[in-house]
Structures are given as structure tokens and as C-alpha cells.
Symmetry: C2
Subunit: 422 residues, 2 copies
């Protein structure tokens, strides 16, 4: 109990610090970010030693190879963390931006001004670089941050947070702006989710179980960061070469990501020409297909790694080179399939039919809707935001890749010269 009192007290300190940070100049924030970057690199050896403790613990606990790999901090990864902070320093400060001031008939000038949200709570798993990435984005946008990483990375996360805080303090940031929860007790998550007086927004980054727990128990608004069951629909009028290049890219370039294609939908009029070409490319890349009946018939003899799809395949985020494939008679059926099975993440159509472009844009309800391009672009950097806090699958506040402005809120500002209301 006393333990959680400490967490509560520290979160309240971060709230107070966030009010000071909200007024910090861009110069101080940038200086702090650059100092943090330098210190992460300068203390690379210390970080590796602390990381080794986590890796040893992980091996003892029997973590899988991929998990241990994600947990590892190599000098290259430490340099990448530092570079991430430098990139954030180079971005424009979103705080103080004034939007759309308009003059009303009574002379009042009404607009909005961006400011920090306050304190952001991040609950995440595994990769320790997240600690530096999200702290950097929060600081630049003027927000305090309460970090709750996974127990498997506690030594690495603690070391990173220590370095960030030392560098931040020296550069003139208020103390406690970056607040890493030190206890690995799972109960601490539930306590955090009740601290609506100190934390203004919760962002869970992790598996489905974590997200469900957070949504169910949080009194604080939550920005979800859900799985991606992404579709690409190859329409009858698609350019075959373009469709082939985009579909291969969406599936093969990095299949373990949430914006990779998981289900390919193909119009029946183009299926017998398109599918054999595409299947060969997928097979060459080591891929495997779960096929609807029509796909099975078309690809018979063309592909070895193919098996009939079950209902479950349409709902699965494989995160590897397995792909579900379905042949459909129309755009309508493609949109119906996406509405039913999609996770609202990223959806694409390859077509040359203008009315189909319009309908796909208007009717597909997802965080990102792509025309004639790869869903792999569903990413803050790739879409020009300059940074990424994650990809929101929530419908309010921010949807899709979240950059710095997604960590701000807008207040109304009203400039008058004596106006009173009648």
C-alpha cells in the first residue's frame, strides 16, 4: 500500500512539473533533448551493463528468442535512440500554435491555440527504446510523462530514465517530468489507471490483453493502439503490375508490423490473371496462402504453400508471411468484408475506377485509407508527421499515426476590444 502511495505522490509531482514544462521555451526543451541524446551515447556502456541484467533475467525466465532480441540494447540501437531524440528536437514546437482566427460580426476574433495535454501515461512492453522515444515526444510537446514498462526490461528502462532525467535537470527542465514507475508489481497498473487527478491521457502499447485491461479499468481517457488486420483490395480495373508491386510490398517488406497486409481481396474479373503472378512472388519470398475456394481453384498447381482458409483466417493478424486470400465479385462485397473483419487500422484499394476510389475513401472506416499504395506507409514518419507516438485505432482525439500534435489539445482564444453579450 505504501508502495502505491509513493507512485501516487510521484505522479502528482509530475503533474506539477508538467505545468512548469508547459511554459518552458522551445529552446530549453530542445537543449534538454539534445543533452539527453548525447548522454545516452556517452553512457552506452552503463546502458549495456544494465541491459545485460535484463537479458540474463529473461533467459532465466525462458523468454523466447524474438522477445530477447527485442529486449537487447546494442550500441547501434542506443545510437538510434539518441538520433530519435535529435530528430524530435529538430521538429517545430507544436505548443503555442494558433489556428484559424476568424472575425465575427461583433468584432470578436475567435481562434484556437495548441497547448500540452498535461501528463501522458504510457504502459508498454518489452522494447526499452520506447522509454526514450516517448519521453522525447512528450517533452517536446510540453507534457509530463509517467512510464510503466514491462518487468522484463526494468533495469534497462530505469537506466534510460535516469540518464534522461540527469540530462534534463542539467538543461533546465523541471524535475520529475520523466517519471518511470520503478515497481514491477502488476497492481501498479491498476493504481495508475485511477490517478485521473495526475494523469490526463493513457496510451497502452502492447498486446490485446494489455489494451483490454487498460480500457476496462481506466478512469483516464485511453488512446488505443490496437492490432492491424489490414486488407488490400485489387479491383477489376487495377494496373496488374502496380497491384503486384504494392501487394508484395504490403505483405513481404516487413510482415511483423501492424501495417502489413494480412488479407488480400481480389476482384473475380482480374483474379485469374493477377493471382498466379502474385502467388509466385509470395512463394519466392517464402510466403504461404490461406485461400478461399475460388483462390484454391485458380492457384491449383501454381503454388505449394497453400491451404483452404477457415473463418478464423479472416480474423487473424499473422504478423508473418502467411496471407489470407479471397476472391470477390464486387467493390460492395470487398467493403462489406473489410467492415466485418478489419480492425480499423489501414486499408487499401488498387484501382483505376474513379467512382470506386471515391466510394472506398468515403465508406471504408479505418484510421488510414490508401489508394494505389502500400499499407506499409501507415506510419508517422512515412506520412510526414516527423515522429510517431504510435498508431491510434481510437476514434476520438487522434486516429491513425500520432505525431506531436496528437499530444496537444486546443483551447479557444477570443480577442476582444470591449464586447459584451446581449
Amino acid at each position: 500500500m505504501a508502495l502505491f502511495d509513493d507512485i501516487k505522490k510521484e505522479a502528482a509531482e509530475t503533474k506539477i512539473a508538467s505545468r512548469i514544462l508547459a511554459k518552458c521555451s522551445t529552446e530549453i526543451k530542445n537543449r534538454a533533448l539534445l543533452a539527453m541524446a548525447d548522454q545516452l551515447e556517452a553512457q552506452s556502456e552503463f546502458l549495456s551493463l544494465e541491459n545485460a541484467k535484463d537479458l540474463e533475467g529473461g533467459k532465466k525466465k525462458g523468454l523466447s528468442g524474438p522477445l530477447l532480441e527485442r529486449l537487447t540494447l546494442t550500441p547501434k540501437r542506443i545510437a538510434a535512440m539518441a538520433d530519435g531524440l535529435r530528430q524530435v528536437a529538430a521538429l517545430p514546437d507544436p505548443v503555442g500554435e494558433i489556428l484559424g482566427i476568424k472575425r465575427l460580426p461583433n468584432g470578436l476574433q475567435v481562434g484556437q491555440m495548441r497547448g500540452p495535454i498535461g501528463v501522458i501515461g504510457i504502459i508498454y512492453e518489452s522494447r526499452p527504446n520506447v522509454t526514450a522515444d516517448v519521453a522525447g515526444l512528450c517533452i517536446k510537446s510540453g507534457n509530463g510523462v509517467v512510464l510503466r514498462g514491462g518487468s522484463e526490461a526494468i533495469h534497462s528502462n530505469t537506466a534510460i530514465a535516469e540518464i534522461l532525467n540527469q540530462a534534463g535537470d542539467a538543461a533546465g527542465l523541471p524535475p520529475c517530468v520523466v517519471n518511470l514507475i520503478k515497481t514491477t508489481d502488476r497492481q501498479a497498473i491498476y493504481e495508475l489507471l485511477k490517478m485521473e487527478d495526475s494523469i490526463d491521457l493513457i496510451i497502452p502499447r502492447g498486446g490485446e490483453g494489455l489494451i483490454r485491461t487498460v480500457v476496462e479499468h481506466s478512469r483516464i481517457p485511453v488512446m488505443k493502439h490496437d492490432k492491424g488486420i489490414c486488407h488490400t483490395f485489387v479491383d477489376a480495373s487495377a494496373d496488374i503490375e502496380m497491384a503486384e508491386a504494392i501487394c508484395v510490398n504490403a505483405k513481404v517488406q516487413r510482415p511483423s508490423t501492424c501495417n502489413a497486409m494480412e488479407t488480400l481481396l481480389v476482384h473475380k474479373e482480374i483474379a485469374s490473371v493477377f493471382l498466379p503472378r502474385f502467388a509466385k512472388r509470395l512463394q519466392d519470398a517464402g510466403g504461404e496462402i490461406r485461400a478461399c475456394e475460388k483462390t484454391m481453384a485458380i492457384l491449383q498447381g501454381n503454388m505449394d504453400a497453400i491451404s483452404p482458409a477457415t473463418e478464423d483466417d479472416w480474423k487473424t493478424e499473422y504478423l508473418d508471411l502467411t496471407l489470407a486470400v479471397k476472391v470477390l465479385p464486387s467493390l460492395d462485397e470487398a467493403i462489406t468484408h473489410i467492415t466485418r473483419y478489419g480492425s480499423g487500422h489501414s486499408e487499401a484499394i488498387i484501382t483505376n475506377d474513379h467512382s470506386h476510389v471515391t466510394r472506398f475513401l468515403n465508406e471504408v472506416d479505418a484510421a488510414a485509407v490508401f489508394i494505389n499504395s502500400s499499407t506499409r506507409f501507415s506510419d508517422g514518419f512515412e506520412l510526414g508527421l516527423g515522429a510517431e507516438m504510435g498508431i491510434s485505432t481510437s476514434r476520438i482525439h487522434a486516429r491513425g499515426p500520432m505525431g506531436l500534435t496528437a499530444l496537444t489539445c486546443k483551447k479557444f482564444i477570443i480577442l476582444g476590444d470591449g464586447q459584451i453579450r446581449n
Copy 2:
């Protein structure tokens, strides 16, 4: 239990209906809104009869005069409801608006498109006109709506919802788009707050108790609509006449509203000139002052209805002609007072000092910040939004007066011609 199963089933139907509504043309939505307005007026007599049942029930339950007054549907109020719907019909449709498409170096064109949030849940008290007002805003923005009004207005609300649904059905809206919860069992609120699969956003409109309950129990994102402890700071450089006119307006014009001034802060250099003038006007209007020591000293002999302020006065939303008054030595202390006691609703400064304008805009953390104007303008209509769903005191999604766009979300749209990721 079976009762709540019904509510769950109906909310799921509203979710399905909302997907159809999302694709409805502006023309159909407007036609439905105008038909609803006409029907409310045509069935004015039926509404009055149903309303009489609520009023009778209210009298038996011993509701206060002001509550009974708020509950009453006069022909004039019915006409005002109808006019509200017609005004919403006349507003531009926010659905389908495309924002800021930019071309990236690789040729991708990236922007955002507005669409409905999905289903909005409104939990409200007392005034039955809210039923028509919020239903109209939700329909225009393409959202389904689940309405949970107070038990004291159940007959009036049911009658209004019936009329809206009949008119909507006839105009071609999908059925169940407007879904009024018929049970007055309080437990129904808790059940609603768990229906995250059917409801996308909850907006509570009511007292502090209701809002606290909703925030504590909701698995669904909540837009708060909190009390207004609004300040006006009369700075040393203020134009005395302007300050007097604005402060009288902010307090007296309609003191029962959340955007009325509750605490007046006055710079010590102007206090002895400004306060006696203002106090006279307030006294003439029947007002009363809770004064800090300095204010007491200045107004001694000038005003009868004055008494020393206690700590509680700085925290009180009077909602009538009582005003707390404090004399302060600086802008810094004014901002500190506002940060400590303000509810983040609407705050104003009267000044001619440009650096104070800049600081007030940047440093005061509220939904609406006013320069040289009355906080009474903190309202969707007055600030040019054309409509108002309420005034959000939340920090995410929408802050301040909520118009139609606050009921939408923005998806990314990406227009390519074959781009793949490297």
C-alpha cells in the same frame, strides 16, 4: 437482467444503424431534420399532454420550482426545439470534409477526411429540449445516438423521441438511429457505460455527481461537461469603462449559466477606482459580494450586501448574483489564483498591456481564454460554431464549446499512384 439485455440489444441496433447513417447523403439528413421540426410543432398538443404527466409526477416528488420550470414544455419552447433542428439542417455537413492534403517527396498525397464518430451516448438531466437538440446534432454529423434522460422527464423525452423517430423513418433515415432508453432504473446508466462495442463516446450533461459517476465507471471515452468557476482579471492598465461593462455583463446578464463570472480579480493599482463603480452597478442589479480583506476596506460604506470571503468562496460556482472578489498585486498572482481555483472553463483578462495579453493567452489553461471581452461568449453559437453540443472541459478530442465537428473523427487518406515502401 432481461431489461438490460434489451438495452444492450437496442444499442447494438443503433450501432448498425449508425453505419448506414454514416453513408446517408446530406439531403436525406436535412430532410429528416426538417420533418422532425415540423412534426414536433404539429404534435405540440401531444407533447404538452405527456409533459403534464412529468410535471404532475414532479410536483408529487416535491421537485423545486426552478426544476419544475426547467421541466416545462411550453408551446414557445416546442417551437424553439423545432427551430433548433432547422438551424442544424442549415449548417454545412461536416462529414466528408477533406483537410490539408499535402504532397510528400515520393508523390503520395496525404490528408485527412472527417467522418462520424459512430454512436454517441448522452446522459442528461431535467430539460427535455436536450433530447431534440442533441439528436439533431448527432444525426447531422452522421452519428447514432443513445439517450438517457432523467426519470423526471421520461414521458416528455419518450414523446419527443417517438416523434423524431417517426419523422426520421418517413424521411429515409435507418431505424433506431435515435435510441431513447425507456427504463428509469438508475442501474441502466452503469450498463450503458460498459457497452463499448456499441457506443463510441459518452457525453454526460448534468451535476458534478453524475459526471463523477460516469468518469469512474465508463469503459467508453467520456467528454466532460463540468462546472464553470470563471474568473475575470481587471489589470492595472484596464480601460475602466470597458472593465465595468464587461464585468457587469459577465456576472449579471445571466448568472445561472456555467460561463458567468464567479470570481472577480482586480489589480491593486486600479482597485480603489474600479471597485466602487462596479460594486454600485452590481448592487443595483441585486448582487452580493464575498470580499477579500482589501476589497472589504475599499468598499466599506459603498455597498451593503458585502461580507468577508472564506476559502470556500474561491471554490464556489454560485450560479446566481453572488460574486467573490479579490484584490491582487500582479498578473502572476492572478494566474496563480486561476490555476488553483479555476475549473478550466472560461477565463478573462481586461488589460491594455500587450505583454500581459500574451502571457494570459499562453499561460492560462482553460477551455476558453478571453481578452477584453465577457466570458458569457463562451458558447457554441456566440463563438460562431452554429450549434452547441455542450462545453467540454475535457482536454482531449474537443475542448470548449462543441459544435458539429466535435462529433466527428478524422481518418488519414493517402492517394498514390503505385508507391511502395523501401
